[in-house]
């Protein structure tokens, strides 16, 4: 879902750029409070892992593919502030080294995938976790949060394209959300698989503390 250059106009690029920069500055400020060598090491490993996983496009019906965005994965393991930074680093490297996602669209891409994708999924995760602190509900919350995070990111990407006048808003929104409802299933499967694994071998690495159950 990396928006290339040319899909968002100047006002949308500037607006999303300012919001993204502000949100990241706030995230860095918050993370500094619990910055430890272990947190930095885990952020680095998660960032490298999510970059690698984003390279793996899986096919969905209709000659389309999708790949992990990693917003929910980063949020649930690292917490939303460190998670947003980790996804933003991946997006910045992709935009400036790999020509994946436009340089002028970087603000929009960070907003969709690192801000909405991380804080949005963490909010949903937190909401569903309120129902029960059981292990089963931990995995249900993870699955739903990761599925919805992809849909939410695609919704905002479509909104930005609509505001930019690239294509009619309503049609773009419907098409983007529909295809990402399917891609999101892949996101949920991969996210749950990684979290089940980490929860089994090193539950202490789930820094949000959600890996321990009542």
């Amino acid at each position: 879902m990396h928006i290339p250059d040319g899909f968002v106009d100047l006002k949308t690029a500037v607006f999303t750029g300012v919001i993204s920069a502000g949100s990241l500055a706030a995230a860095i400020y918050k993370v500094k409070r619990y910055f430890k060598t272990k947190v930095i090491a885990l952020m680095g490993v998660m960032s490298a892992l999510i970059f690698a996983l984003q390279m793996i496009n899986f096919s969905i019906p209709g000659g389309t593919s999708g790949h992990l965005l990693g917003g929910a994965l980063a949020a649930i393991i690292l917490g939303p502030h460190a998670g947003a930074i980790v996804i933003a680093v991946v997006l910045i490297v992709q935009a400036f080294v790999f020509m994946d996602g436009g340089v002028t669209a970087l603000g929009a891409n960070i907003f969709n995938m690192a801000i909405i994708g991380v804080y949005g999924s963490y909010f949903i995760f937190w909401l569903i976790r309120k129902i029960s602190k059981s292990k089963v509900n931990f995995f249900i919350s993870t699955a739903v949060a990761s599925w919805l995070s992809v849909i939410a990111a695609s919704f905002f990407a479509a909104l930005e394209l609509g505001i930019s006048g690239t294509y009619a808003m309503g049609v773009t929104l419907k098409a983007m959300v529909l295809v990402h409802m399917i891609i999101g299933i892949g996101e949920a499967i991969i996210t749950v698989a990684v979290i089940v694994f980490i929860n089994k071998v090193r539950p202490d690495l789930i820094l949000t503390g959600e890996g321990s159950f009542e």
Binding site: L49, F58, S65
Partner: protein, 103 residues
């Protein structure tokens, strides 16, 4: 003990990231992604512009141009990405350690 355990997860994580980026990546689907497909179907894929010239990018389109084989082009692109990200956080790690030693 905890120190050693922390080395383990970093090592395992790096090996996992490199394996995925270098080996599994060559099997990735080459179909357009959700956004590209929507842009094709609705007919605005042509709006895509190269604002920054391709020569600016070190590894455009995940293609490591220095080698000929298509498989190696993807593998080495994946490896470079993982190492660039690790280097970034590695530098932050070292700065953090240096600053905290002085206190």
């Amino acid at each position: 003990m905890t120190e050693r355990k922390n080395y383990t997860f970093v090592l395992v994580g790096i090996i996992a990231a490199l394996t995925i980026a270098m080996l599994i990546s060559v099997f990735a689907s080459s179909f357009p992604d959700g956004l590209e497909k929507v842009a094709e179907n609705l007919g605005f894929i042509g709006n895509s512009r190269e604002i920054v010239p391709e020569s600016f990018f070190l590894i455009p389109d995940y293609t490591f141009r220095a080698v000929g084989s298509e498989l190696w082009q993807v593998s080495l692109a994946g490896m470079s990405g993982v190492l660039i990200i690790l280097a970034f956080f590695g530098i932050i790690y070292l700065i953090y350690k240096a600053v905290n030693k002085k206190r």
